[in-house]
């Protein structure tokens, strides 16, 4: 980063984006802390959780919920808070921040598309599927996804209008669309999305480029790792596997080449440990404890997300806020489920503490 760019960023960032950065930092202060989680873990019923959350930023969203509570209503209320915050920021954002915020939600859009498509293939009711969609990744024509009978129609009818269109047209031919496994499609789209997002943040440059580059690298590597783990023992060929990895990240390109040929967990592990940041993660993992990996990766992600708040004048804080809120909602859901199913001894296992 040059001196000039740095200075101009410091001088000019606040002109357009200072207000929203202040807003998002305010929102961030409302995230639940470790003390909050400890208190939540002591709740006996969902009503207790509601009472406790009424005292937090979720208060206005929960106050008008009638008893008795369910886990889903609780999670819905929490999601409503995130969506309301996000909408507020999106409405107030100028360019290029508006595009950045949109980019952050494309991932959810991909998930929603995949959800609706699999749902229709299994002949589920559209309304029911729509309720399950992530509200951040909604777009106008999403309901009409169900109209499409096959993948080609899907693209031709609906997705052309969405920001996801280039990911389809550039990466998938119409033959692919017809015969491709839905999970492979999701990962192909996600790879295209990550590549696009990464080039976008580097286009924005400055601190945003640096911070988001780091975050996206981690995301890309995590996906590469998960793809490899999940594809062991399936008929996915090495070349196909290779194609699903994003074209950046700490593992790119040599680590990815090695991951592509890995055949069991220990091989993956040896590949990952060649990369210093991941060595620390894997060293926390005992031999054969692959289940814990998810949680450790989440924890690592949360650590990185919180670090983004150490720097000023960049868009990473918005991405981080969204991710942290989502993690928090997952935590609340876990606690609520544990409380509802009387599994309180396991409640600490699933929480990823933020602060």
């Amino acid at each position: 980063m040059s001196f000039g760019e740095d200075t101009s960023e410091m001088c000019l960032f606040n002109v357009k984006d200072g207000f929203l950065e202040a807003v998002v930092r305010g929102y961030k202060l409302g995230l639940l802390s470790t003390a909050d989680y400890n208190n939540l873990c002591q709740c006996e019923t969902l009503e207790d959780i509601k009472l406790y959350l009424t005292g937090t930023d979720y208060g206005p969203y929960l106050a008008n919920e009638a008893s008795p509570m369910h886990t889903t209503t609780l999670v819905d209320c929490c999601t409503r808070k995130l969506v309301a915050d996000w909408k507020y920021m999106r409405e107030n954002a100028g360019e290029p921040m508006g595009r950045f915020l949109d980019y952050c939600t494309y991932g959810h859009m991909i998930d929603n598309v995949v959800l609706i498509v699999t749902g229709t293939l299994h002949e589920r009711d559209v309304q029911e599927l729509l309720d399950k969609c992530n509200p951040l990744g909604m777009f106008d024509a999403i309901a009409s996804l169900a109209v499409a009978q096959n993948m080609r129609d899907l693209y031709r009818l609906v997705l052309v209008d969405t920001p996801l269109a280039p990911y389809f047209s550039e990466n998938l031919t119409s033959e692919d669309l017809d015969e491709m496994n839905i999970e492979v499609m999701r990962n192909t789209l996600y790879k295209a999305y990550l590549d696009d997002f990464s080039s976008f943040v580097h286009g924005v440059g400055g601190t945003t480029g640096a911070v988001m580059g780091e975050m996206l690298s981690f995301e890309a590597d995590r996906r590469a790792l998960n793809i490899t783990l999940n594809s062991i023992g399936t008929e996915l060929t090495r070349d196909d596997r290779r194609k699903l990895y994003a074209n950046f990240g700490l593992l790119y390109p040599h680590g990815q080449a090695e991951l592509a040929v890995a055949e069991d967990f220990d091989q993956i592990r040896s590949v990952m440990e060649k990369c210093p940041p991941y060595q620390a993660i894997f060293s926390r993992l005992g031999l054969g404890e692959s289940q814990m990996l998810d949680k450790i990766l989440y924890e690592e992600e949360v650590r990185q997300l919180i670090n983004t708040y150490e720097q000023q004048f960049h868009y990473g804080v918005f991405y981080a806020y969204m991710r942290l809120r989502e993690q928090e909602i997952r935590n609340v859901m876990w606690i609520a489920e544990c409380v509802a199913q009387d599994q309180k001894n396991r409640v600490q296992d699933g929480i990823v503490f933020t602060f």
Binding site: N39, Q42, C43, E44, E47, D48, L51, Y52, T54, G55, A63, N64, E65, A66, S67, V126, D140, A141, A143, S144, L145, A146, V147, D153, R156, L157, V158, D161
Partner: protein, 860 residues
């Protein structure tokens, strides 16, 4: 002087029998004079004793909010509180609310269903109307086309090349394939994507016709939406399937639409009939619902108040610690000593009412915590106290600058805003607010007007003082007044010539005026009040006024700063801090008055005697060349009284000597005391009688004079460890931290701050002059250049009207709004910084009692 020091507070312990706890606390909320301490701070909301009751209250509050929105939606006015039924007990109210809620939601459900079918029928009616007109149009245009093409074919045997082939073909042989169609309504904003998707999915093999029908209630949500009626034609079953799905995806409501005209009419008639039927049902349902809502509205406010109070009561109960036997609840609360009697009465009454065997035990406690600050304010004083509180809440029982602010604040404002006319305008506004106070207090005034309303008495006093200073400056909208007679100045040679402007215009009138100046006609009887009108409009007006206002600013500033230092003495005396009096108050007084107090005396002397001494010169050479007043004889006019030189040397020395006195002795003496105390405590000794005495110990910030430090007075609070205060002892006097370095550094900072501040704060008061100058110059510009410029310059009547308009806008916008705001801010600054830094600690915390009166104001 009850505002001068905050109310005396006591920490009291209440032991409330469990069975009477709720009623007792509610009775105390009625009194509203107790600030309960949270004794369960480590427990979370849901672990507390009354968490369940809080949940029930929340549930009831939710129901009440639901009722409120429903009542508001129905447009029924909510009756003001406390009707006959307002006093249900908690459980009965809960049951009643739950029952009402289920009743209301059932009614809502019914009416929703009815409304949905009603809206559906309405939409169907629209579809029938509009769609049939499509068909009609299509039919007539088809007929026309057929006729035209037939005619064209007849006209020219060879068909026109430009004529569409398909159309003509169609026209000649009507298609055998029956086209399917479906009709319905769709929101207008979704129309474009809807059409696009239809087009894509059928590969263009469809025909959509639509017409917007305006705002229609949507059957699903009941909200009004801009909608359009559409008819889409398609061919084939697969297309039909797709189109149905697309309709579903776009929340387009489809309606059956018969293609045959007679059945359309029949259906239309049917729909109309059913609509009428539904209408009567709906009306009956709505009447029923309105009846229920009206019954609710009657009690809603009373219930809301009750629930709010219940919830606050339980929140307070949650702060009490529960005794192991669960028979007694223990509370700790701050009470103003003056209100203890009322609290006792309330407790006795509550115990009687609850008929419990044990009454509540109410006893004072010993604590080392600083008590909260509680100033009893009236509607008049509260805004002024607000100005002080915005800077910082006074420390417990320290001198409250709010008392003085009531007068000094509007006065300093007026010095900067002196104009009779502007003052009168502001007075009218303030009177409007004050006289309509009762009415306006009930309304929601919005941010800005609400703020002004809150400060209405400040504005009132500001305007009165502005009028007063306006008389002093002799200005009304920058025009000179003659309320106190004509000018006392006249031409020295011709006593009848008094108008300085006329003399300036025609030099031959009074030549002496330009050599020796005007003369007062009768010496010793100047203009009765304020500035002589003779100055107005002369070339020396500005110099004269500047000199006057500058000197006046300095005199006012030094007086106010002296007042601040004297207040610090009141604090020291009250907290029995003789050391600070000797080492801070006295040298500070000497320092300020030796330099600037002396300057003020010179100013007054100069005004009184008419001396022509150059005070700048005097003051500067007092430092540069002490002992020499008249520049070694070169400027004899500077010597104003005999012995001046000697006095100046003495004052200068006094000022210099007072600086080290401010700095050194206090930390050293504190250190000595501390050492002595630690020595004493090393060996056991008899306590001196007064140390043992139970005496009222004032809350002191300094480890002050010996004596009853160790005695635990019943409101004895600890010295806070903040700031320069030596040792934050907790009253025990033993083993407390004493860091000499820190104390010394603080003392140094304070000394430097005061010495430099004496100069810079005095200079800061010159803002009084600067703003007053800006104000009078601005108003003069608007009056002379804008208004008079047109009138005297012989402008056309139209131009004069325009000029008057501009003048009015500028007076209101620039002077009344912006200038008054800036004067307000500067007055605020002079109080917060220049005045309050002399004595005000402002590190207390506000008394926030548990009171139903404030709770009733909060939203549910």
């Amino acid at each position: 002087m009850e505002l001068f020091r905050s109310e005396e507070m006591q920490l009291c312990q209440l032991m409330i029998p469990a069975e009477a706890a709720h009623d007792t606390v509610a009775a105390l909320g009625e009194v509203g004079m107790l600030q309960f301490k949270d004794l369960n701070a480590e427990r979370t909301a849901f672990q507390r004793t009354y968490a369940n009751e809080i949940k029930r209250c929340d549930e009831m509050a939710r129901q009440l909010r639901f009722f409120t929105t429903e009542v508001e939606k129905a447009g029924i006015p909510v009756a003001p509180r406390l009707s006959s039924e307002g006093n249900l007990d908690f459980d009965a109210l809960e049951a009643k609310l739950a029952q009402l809620e289920s009743e209301l939601s059932e009614l809502n459900g019914n009416s929703d269903r009815l409304h949905r079918s009603h809206n559906e029928l309405l939409e169907l009616q629209l579809v029938l109307e509009r769609a049939s007109s499509f068909f009609e149009d299509a039919r007539s245009s088809a007929d026309r086309a057929q006729r035209e093409t037939a005619a064209a074919a007849f006209d020219s045997a060879t068909p026109d090349i430009g004529a569409p082939l398909l159309e003509s073909a169609q026209a000649f042989e009507p298609k055998a394939v029956q086209l399917g169609f479906t009709a319905g309504t769709v929101p207008v904003e979704k129309l474009a994507p809807f059409e696009r998707l239809l087009f894509r999915s059928t590969r263009g093999n469809m025909f959509l016709k639509f017409t917007p029908v305006g705002s229609v209630a949507d059957p699903a949500t009941g909200e009004r939406q801009e909608k359009a009626v559409f008819v889409v034609f398609f061919a084939g079953e697969r297309a039909r399937q797709k189109i149905l799905k697309i309709c579903e995806a776009f929340a387009a409501n489809r309606y059956p639409f018969p293609d045959d005209l007679s059945r359309q009419r029949q259906m239309n008639a049917e729909v109309n009939g059913r609509l009428r039927e539904l209408h009567t049902t709906l009306e009956a349902g709505d009447r029923l619902r309105e009846g229920v809502l009206q019954a609710i509205a009657l009690n809603l406010d009373g219930w809301s108040v009750q629930v709010r109070r219940e919830k606050a009561t339980y929140h307070t109960l949650n702060k009490l610690s529960v005794d192991v036997t669960r028979k007694v609840l223990v509370a700790e609360a701050w009470v103003p000593v003056a209100a203890k009697g009322r609290v006792r009465d309330a407790l006795r009454l509550a115990a009687l009412r609850a008929a419990s065997v044990m009454g509540t035990v109410f006893q004072p406690m010993i604590t080392y915590e600083p008590p909260p600050t509680y100033h009893q304010t009236s509607k008049f004083t509260s805004a002024f106290q607000g100005i002080v509180d915005a800077y910082g809440i006074a420390r417990y029982r320290e001198a409250n600058p709010g008392v003085f602010t009531i007068i000094t604040f509007p006065f300093l404002f007026a010095v900067m805003f002196g104009d009779i006319g502007h003052g009168i305008l502001m007075l009218m506004f303030a009177l409007l607010l004050v006289l309509r106070e009762k009415k306006m207090a009930k309304q929601d005034l919005g941010d800005i007007l609400g703020m002004m309303f809150g400060g209405r008495y400040i504005i009132l006093l500001m305007s009165v003082f502005s009028i007063y200073t306006g008389f002093v400056y002799n200005e009304i909208f920058s025009v000179v007044t003659t309320f106190f007679g004509r000018t006392r100045f006249a031409c020295a040679t011709d006593g009848s010539l008094t108008d300085p402007v006329a003399m300036m215009m025609d030099h031959s009138l009074c030549p002496s005026a330009f050599k020796t100046g005007l003369e007062m006609q009768t010496t010793g009887s100047p203009f009765a009040f304020g500035v002589d009108p003779a100055w107005h409009g002369t070339r020396t007006e500005l110099q004269y006024l500047n000199s006057l206002k500058m000197k006046m600013s300095i005199v006012l500033g030094v007086v106010q700063m002296n007042a601040g230092i004297i207040l610090s003495y009141f604090n020291q005396r009250y907290f029995a801090d003789t050391l600070s009096t000797l080492c801070e108050f006295i040298p500070q007084m000497i320092f300020l008055n030796a330099l600037f107090g002396y300057l003020c005396i010179l100013i007054l002397l100069k005004w009184a005697t008419g001396s022509t001494a150059d005070l700048y010169h005097t003051l500067i050479y007092m430092f540069l060349n002490p002992g020499d007043v008249d520049c070694g004889g070169a400027c004899p006019e500077n010597k104003m009284f005999p012995g001046q030189a000697g006095l100046q040397v003495f004052l200068l020395l006094a000022a210099f000597v007072s600086v080290p006195i401010m700095l050194l002795p206090k930390p050293l003496i504190l250190k000595k005391r501390h050492e002595k105390r630690t020595q004493q405590s090393a060996s056991y000794g008899l306590l001196s009688p007064e140390e043992n005495a139970f005496r009222f110990q004032r809350y002191s910030d300094e480890e002050s004079v010996g004596g009853g430090e160790a005695a635990a007075g019943h409101t004895r609070a600890p010295a806070q460890t903040s700031g320069a205060h030596a040792g934050g002892g907790h009253g025990d006097g033993h083993g407390e931290e004493f860091d000499f370095g820190e104390v010394m550094v603080h003392q140094m900072i304070h000394t430097i701050e005061f010495v430099l501040g004496a100069v810079s704060n005095t200079a800061s008061y010159l803002r009084l002059w600067a703003l007053s100058l800006a104000h009078s110059q601005l108003s003069a510009v608007f009056y002379d250049r804008v208004l008079m410029g047109q009138i005297q310059g012989g402008g056309s009547p139209f131009a004069i009207v325009v000029a008057f308009y501009v003048f009015t806008c500028a007076t209101l916008g620039v002077l009344m709004v912006m200038e008054s705001l800036s004067a307000f801010l500067h007055a605020l600054r002079l109080h917060w910084v220049e005045f309050q830094n002399k004595f005000y600690h402002g590190d207390g915390y506000q008394f926030a009692p548990f009171s139903f009166e404030t709770i009733d104001q909060e939203p549910l």
